[in-house]
């Protein structure tokens, strides 16, 4: 047999499309743009605060050490909520796409849809009437973010090329091996996108749980609103927004690191 390159470039391009796997690009300098912009925004805000004469209330609200503690707390709460959502939604997504348990799909999707459609603020208010603390907030915000992960898990697993699965089965891979060594690796880009959405939703909605004692930067935000201090509101809003963007960026980096090299673009 002879070695020959037959139309390597154009055919390779077609087959990449045919595999139905969404390609991810590799790491590069462009990945530093987001954190750089965030750093500039935060620096600008700090400079702005330093030029202003803060009154006693504002000064106590915007105390650096307190803001830092709240930020760290905010990150942990968001990550914990997102982690819980992944822990529930990914297994459910797997069950929905297995032939034997496919029948649960309507139930699971109904719950997911209700979770997202229900007004979060209203739920927080109602639940806040009888249940306070981290777990109450985590449950409500988790229900809100659940659908994003669930839907992406289902789509991510379903978009795996059926011919690849047929080959895997035909070669004698067990269903478990196919799930963990073929389906999940190929679904990482899509499931990852859902996980990032959940994380951003968590960062953005944690402040709403302030009245239930969730903690995080919501405390400063609502303090600013309560005392009618625009400087405080602006600062807290900006920090929350920057945090959301940075968390999404970090999620993107993790996602790309988990994406197998074969389905990343050059």
């Amino acid at each position: 047999m002879t070695v020959q390159l037959e139309r390597p470039l154009d055919q390779a391009a077609t087959t990449a499309l045919e595999t139905g796997v969404r390609a991810e690009r590799s790491f590069g300098w462009r990945d530093l743009i987001t954190p750089a912009v965030c750093a500039i925004l935060v620096a600008a805000e700090i400079w702005y605060l330093s030029t202003r004469d803060l009154d006693a209330i504002e000064a106590s609200q915007l105390e650096a050490a307190k803001l830092w503690d709240q930020t760290v707390q905010h990150i942990w709460i968001s990550v914990a909520i997102a982690g819980m959502v992944l822990g529930v939604a990914i297994p459910l997504g797997v069950l929905v796409t297995r032939r034997r348990t496919r029948w649960i799909a309507p139930v699971v999707l109904l719950v997911g849809n209700v979770g997202q459609a229900a007004p979060t603020v209203g739920l927080l208010a109602i639940v806040g009437g009888f249940w306070l603390g981290f777990w109450a907030v985590a449950l409500i915000l988790g229900a809100y973010a659940m659908l994003a992960v669930l839907r992406n898990t289902i789509v991510g697993l379903q978009q795996v090329d059926p011919d690849v699965l047929d080959a895997a089965r035909g070669m004698g891979m067990s269903p478990m091996a196919i799930l963990f060594r073929v389906e999940f690796p190929l679904a990482v880009p899509v499931i990852g996108a859902g996980a990032r959405t959940a994380l951003v939703l968590a960062v953005a909605t944690v402040p709403l749980g302030q009245n239930l004692g969730a903690g995080g930067l919501g405390a400063t935000l609502f303090a600013g609103i309560g005392q009618n201090r625009d400087v405080t509101i602006l600062a807290a809003s900006l920090f929350i927004a920057v945090l959301a963007v940075l968390m999404d960026w970090a999620g993107a980096m993790v996602q790309r690191a988990l994406t197998p090299k074969g389905i990343r673009t050059a």
Partner: protein
């Protein structure tokens, strides 16, 4: 692709099995019926697939040829009947373990896009817990076998390969654990015609060495003639219309369905199976010096085509670039008459 054409005169591996690495497969009254359908997808098929042969299942779309093939490695469970591989009932085996002993190649190839070529090829050996060194050596051996330089291709990913190269990897992957049996579902169907012809020939050369038992599904009768030691022409419900060597099917189709499926020009197709080597060559004369040349490996179909194309009644036959004799139109016609006589004798018998 060597001697795959000599089946009629010297049945390739029929019954012998002595030098065959493959094992026989027997389908006994096998049916597949899907719930809620009136007619069976596969209706009571029985056939014996001899060790070390390429048996082609050919037929129109929906005849159940792929279903029949997929029941052998239990990707589809038969509704009734038994299938044995080397005497062992496949239904009594663990389906996952069974499939590791059977090579599997499909038209869409189905390489794992996230794994390198080496990882793709080594998948079954790794599942069978081969030693690392043995697995690595085997990957290199298989890639070389299908004409891909190991050093160059080992670390590539499927999307960096052309369609033809991907199918070579598909074949290498199926052969990696040295299974006695291979199932191939239109393996070269998605490749362009030029590459398809090359892959077919290369595969026949590989099979010549390996002597696997191969069940090969196609809807292309010409491919069936080219690749098969035996061909099963299937009608709806996988009813076997005829199960015979390509020569027999071409020269004496069993019924109108087979005749229709063989299509026009059966005699010309028959000549595709005849090598120039089966004809006694004439010595080269001075008159031939300007005649066009054909290689000794050519088929009589090629010879005839060349004669018509060049409007010549005589061609010079070359082996390794050197003239070794000549062939005339009369020689081809004489061989056609012989073949007819053989076919009639077979029908009379």
């Amino acid at each position: 692709m060597s001697d795959s054409t000599d089946v009629a005169t010297t049945p390739k591996a029929a019954g012998s099995g002595s030098d065959a690495a493959g094992v026989p497969i027997v389908l006994d009254h096998v049916s597949k019926r899907y719930p809620g359908t009136k007619s069976a997808a596969v209706d009571d098929i029985s056939m014996e697939i001899p060790a070390g042969e390429i048996v082609i299942l050919v037929g129109p779309s929906g005849c159940g040829k792929t279903t029949t093939m997929r029941m052998i490695n239990r990707l589809i469970e038969p509704t009734s009947g038994t299938i044995t591989i080397d005497g062992e009932d496949v239904l009594s085996l663990d389906d996952v373990k069974l499939r590791r002993e059977i090579g599997y190649v499909i038209q869409q190839i189905g390489l794992f896009p996230h794994l390198s070529i080496a990882q793709n090829v080594s998948l079954v050996p790794r599942m069978l817990k081969w030693k690392k060194q043995r697995t690595n050596d085997r990957v290199d051996e298989m890639l070389s076998l299908v004409g891909l330089e190991p050093a160059e291709y080992r670390h590539r990913y499927p999307r960096q390969l052309s369609g033809g190269q991907q199918q070579r990897v598909g074949v290498a992957r199926a052969l990696a654990a040295d299974p006695p049996v291979m199932l191939m579902d239109e393996p070269f169907g998605a490749v362009d015609p030029i590459n398809r012809a090359r892959l077919q020939e290369e595969f026949l050369a590989v099979q010549d060495k390996l002597r696997k038992t191969i069940v090969f599904v196609t809807h292309d009768f010409d491919e069936a003639v080219k690749m098969g030691d035996r061909i099963a022409v299937l009608d709806q419900g996988s009813k076997i219309a005829q199960y015979a060597t390509p020569e027999e099917i071409l020269s004496s189709p069993a019924n109108a369905f087979v005749e229709g499926f063989v299509g026009h020009g059966a005699t010309l197709k028959r000549l595709q199976l005849e090598r120039l080597e089966t004809v006694d060559l004439r010595p080269v004369t001075d008159a031939d010096s300007a005649a066009p040349r054909v290689p000794i490996k050519a088929t009589l179909h090629d010879v005839l085509d060349e004669m018509i194309a060049k409007a010549q009644e005589s061609l010079v036959v070359v082996k390794d670039g050197k003239p070794i004799g000549s062939v005339a139109l009369d020689d081809v016609l004489a061989r056609v008459r012989e073949l007819r006589a053989e076919a009639e004798a077979r029908e009379g018998a």
